[in-house]
């Protein structure tokens, strides 16, 4: 057949050229998953908290005794079973077929060494405080770890799946921790991308399902979504709220989300007008939360009118969950009771670096003005915000955070006012009844009693107001519709969902 070059043919070929180009960049081998991170991990130290993006990569290269399943349930990992013995100690039975990336077998000694590192006085681990509650670790045999705690500890198993808690080979050098995860890092460019490849001695049969995951950092949220739409990546975390509509409308994409992290108000409990719990309660009753959901999160979230206990969990109580509902008359009455019927002026700390922090602050500012509290906004960069917060250089502040887990004890890090000061808890504030209930709940093994204790904790917190809940925000992942096996975990665990990546494949 002889082909003749016609003008029309030439134009058609020219028009088709860009699409030929597109194939070149958008097609990736079927066993490679390209994951759009919202930030490049600052570092990958297994126990140091360096954010959810770092957690995502760490949970690929490391494993812990237990993990979270798709529905937020505890699943066996290095431990194939766990139970409480007659003396109140936790006993973990290790599996026999887990290996570190250097070929060494995972043993009880490694688990013991890991606990000792995390709990040591020189530790920089996120779970340091928790693990310091462990009195001693016993190794009855190489596959059994017996953990004796200083006080009874019902919640100890929930500490293990945290993405800042991994079992590391006991011979590791400080700067080269050796893990036993389903993937190992094979390539890395600081600030840009990390590539991991399947570890051939991973203990779960058939996993990881994809040979390679390429993590690419897209700090700009709009570009992250653009990269997903353009087919440059297969899945992205932190799908921006403003893009959820178009992602849902795009037949090539799907969106999975859960309400998990939340926005709240923190107070200075040492000086200023908010030392009086009645003033704090007045603030709690002055906010129309649906406006925050609408304006700061494009309607992608839900109101939070009580203590941040996730709906659908056993600890959730419909009535208590509305304990701080909008009631301006009550707010005014509380102010009058506190001796400031006409309100006062104060400075509200937030940060302009993140839109949701700034938007939330502006709405709260307006609503507080309606009951007479005039707030001047102070919106420095995030670093300054953190510093001012930790030093208590504020009277009222806007914050956003997620609990450690869906167990109410996961809220301790946010609501336990006996812990040392940090920017993400109210400064110098005392909520003794709330703290007491949290302590009792942690040590109670009977589920029915725990539910009762945490309802008590909610009642106490509604009065003592260690924080004011504002809004749950939706945590969404956007992905190519061919991606199978991924799920968003419920509530506070939504940020842990990437732990399911070894189970992901292309349908």
């Amino acid at each position: 057949m002889i082909s003749t070059l016609t003008r029309r043919g030439f134009v058609a070929a020219g028009a088709a050229f860009p699409f030929a180009l597109r194939n070149a960049h958008a097609q990736a081998p079927a066993d490679v998953l390209r994951y759009g991170l919202s930030a490049y991990p600052p570092n990958l130290q297994p126990w140091v908290s360096t954010g959810a993006s770092a957690g995502t990569v760490k949970i690929m290269t490391n494993r812990s005794l237990l993990s979270w399943g798709p529905k937020g349930e505890l699943r066996p990992e290095l431990a194939e079973s766990w139970s409480l013995d007659g003396e109140g100690a936790w006993v973990f039975r290790l599996r026999d077929d887990a290996y570190f990336h250097n070929g060494e077998k995972v043993t009880a000694d490694d688990v013991k060494w890991t606990i000792e590192q995390v709990a040591s006085d020189r530790s920089t681990a996120y779970m340091r405080t928790q693990f310091q509650a462990i009195a001693r670790v016993e190794i009855p045999d190489p596959r059994t770890v017996r953990i004796v705690t200083k006080q009874p500890l019902a919640v100890l198993p929930t500490w293990w799946p945290n993405y800042n808690m991994h079992v590391v080979w006991r011979g590791s050098k400080p700067n080269a921790p050796i893990g036993c995860g389903p993937y190992r890092i094979t390539a890395q460019e600081r600030g840009t991308a990390i590539e991991v490849q399947a570890f051939d001695r991973y203990y779960k049969p058939g996993q990881p399902r994809l040979k390679t995951i390429r993590f690419i950092a897209y700090p700009d949220e709009n570009l992250r979504f653009a990269a997903l739409q353009a087919g440059d990546v297969d899945i992205i975390e932190y799908l921006p709220w403003q893009s959820m509509d178009s992602a849902e409308a795009d037949p090539r994409l799907k969106v999975l989300s859960a309400d998990g992290p939340f926005m709240d108000i923190l107070f200075n409990g040492e000086r200023g007008p908010f030392t009086d719990a009645r003033v704090r309660r007045a603030v709690a009753h002055a906010i129309r939360r649906e406006e925050i959901v609408k304006a700061a999160f494009f309607g992608r979230g839900s109101v939070l009118e009580g203590v941040p206990i996730a709906p659908g969990t056993p600890w959730f109580d419909e009535e208590l969950s509305r304990g701080w509902r909008y009631d301006p008359a009550r707010a005014k009455a509380l102010l009058a009771e506190a001796g400031v019927p006409n309100g006062f002026s104060t400075v509200m700390l937030s940060s302009a670096q993140f839109g949701m922090h700034k938007d939330t602050a502006e709405i709260v500012q307006q609503h507080l003005a309606e009951i007479g509290i005039q707030c001047e906004l102070r919106l420095p960069d995030w670093s300054t915000r953190v510093s001012l917060g930790s030093r208590g250089q504020y009277e009222i502040a806007i914050h956003g955070v997620a609990a450690d887990s869906n167990d109410p004890d996961g809220l301790a890090v946010i609501m336990d006012t006996s812990l040392s000061p940090t920017y993400s808890r109210s400064f110098g504030l005392k909520a003794p009844r709330t703290t007491d209930a949290l302590n009792r709940g942690r040590g109670e093994f009977d589920q029915a009693k725990r539910v009762e204790i945490y309802k008590e904790m909610q009642r106490a917190a509604l009065e003592e107001v260690p924080l004011v809940g504002l809004a749950w925000r939706s945590q969404a992942f956007g992905m190519d519709s061919r991606v199978q096996g991924f799920a968003v975990m419920p509530g506070a665990l939504s940020l842990n969902s990437a732990g399911l990546l070894p189970e992901v494949s292309f349908g």
């Binding site: 570092n43 908290s49 954010g51 600030g191 897209y218 709009n222 653009a226 953190v386 940090t422």
Partner: protein, 316 residues
């Protein structure tokens, strides 16, 4: 020669001043690198763990001790390591600087190739259709912020037509075509503003020179119009254009932040921004020092180029 040595001495003094000012300012501004690192994502770190990290990073030492150590390192040509992951600052700069330079270089080249002929043509045919149209277009190009252009380009080419990747980077050695494809959009986004400025400068400058006496003399001597244009008009008109180009290229060294961010181009601006946010002191100081060093060098080169273009400067 003496002039040259003196200039170098002044440059070094300036570099030390910059380093000191940046170092001191960073330490005075609120924000603790250890606490920030452990608070990534809004979580509450254990203050005892933060204290331990501060100790390890040497942040607990007196400021002057830290400054002294920094200066000693500088003398050895060592910019230190990142506080965040202990990555050597020099390695980071060596990796990223070429990419920013490539971006600026290609953008400048694009701008020059378009703006110089267009500006000259517009000046020669003053008030003609091209002149008016081009002036309107440059006004528009200058008025639209770079991030708007960037976002629009991505929306159209990557999201709607899906003919280009939505930003990113591939090394040239790995895939030249994809490298250039990815380079095209950010380079265009930077070139558009630069081209507009250069066009205006060239046009004004050529107009000015066209009416000078020596041009009239050259013409009346009967020199070929092309000869007059290239040797007597454009060459003389280039001086102010070069000044503007030099200044802009210097500014771009630290000013490609938005473009690099919008297109995910892993140049030097992004780590600088991230380092400032994280209060990663050694990284910030290292990158700012590099940028100011390059700025000083560009100024030096521009001075030398003036000499080539205008012999009067050489003899002065």
């Amino acid at each position: 020669m003496l002039w040259f040595l003196r200039r170098i001495a002044v440059s070094l003094l300036l570099a030390w001043l910059v380093a000191t000012i940046v170092f001191m300012t960073l330490h005075i501004v609120p924000g603790d690198p250890a606490e920030l690192l452990m608070s990534t994502g809004g979580v509450a770190p254990d203050p005892a763990a933060v204290e331990e990290l501060r100790e390890r990073l040497g942040l607990n030492q007196p400021l002057m001790t830290q400054y002294g150590a920094f200066l000693m390192g500088l003398l050895r040509g060592d910019l230190g390591v990142s506080l965040i992951d202990e990555y050597p600052v020099l390695d980071e700069i060596a990796l990223r600087l070429p990419r920013t330079l490539e971006l600026i270089g290609v953008a400048s080249l694009l701008a020059i190739v378009v703006a110089l002929p267009a500006g000259t043509y517009a000046a020669v045919h003053r008030d003609g259709a091209f002149d008016r149209a081009a002036s309107a277009v440059t006004a528009l190009l200058l008025a639209i912020p770079v991030f708007v252009v960037g976002t629009l380009l991505i929306l159209l080419l990557a999201q709607m037509l899906r003919v280009m990747p939505a930003g990113g980077y591939v090394p040239f050695a790995q895939n030249p075509i994809q490298h250039l494809t990815l380079l095209a959009l950010p380079a265009l986004a930077i070139a558009k503003g630069l081209a507009a400025v250069l066009f205006r400068m060239t046009r004004a400058s050529v107009l000015d020179v066209l009416h000078r006496d020596h041009v009239r003399t050259a013409r009346s001597k009967g020199l070929a119009p092309g000869h007059v244009m290239t040797l007597h008009v454009v060459r003389n008109a280039l001086l102010p254009v070069l000044t503007v180009l030099g200044l802009h290229m210097g500014t771009l060294l630290g000013g490609t932040v938005l473009v690099e961010y919008v297109f995910n181009w892993p140049g030097m601006s992004t780590p600088l921004l991230r380092a400032v946010e994280a209060r990663d002191y050694p990284m910030v100081v290292g990158i700012v020092l590099t940028i100011s060093g390059l700025f000083l060098m560009i100024n030096l080169i521009m001075d030398l180029l003036y000499g080539v273009l205008d012999p009067r400067i050489r003899t002065a």
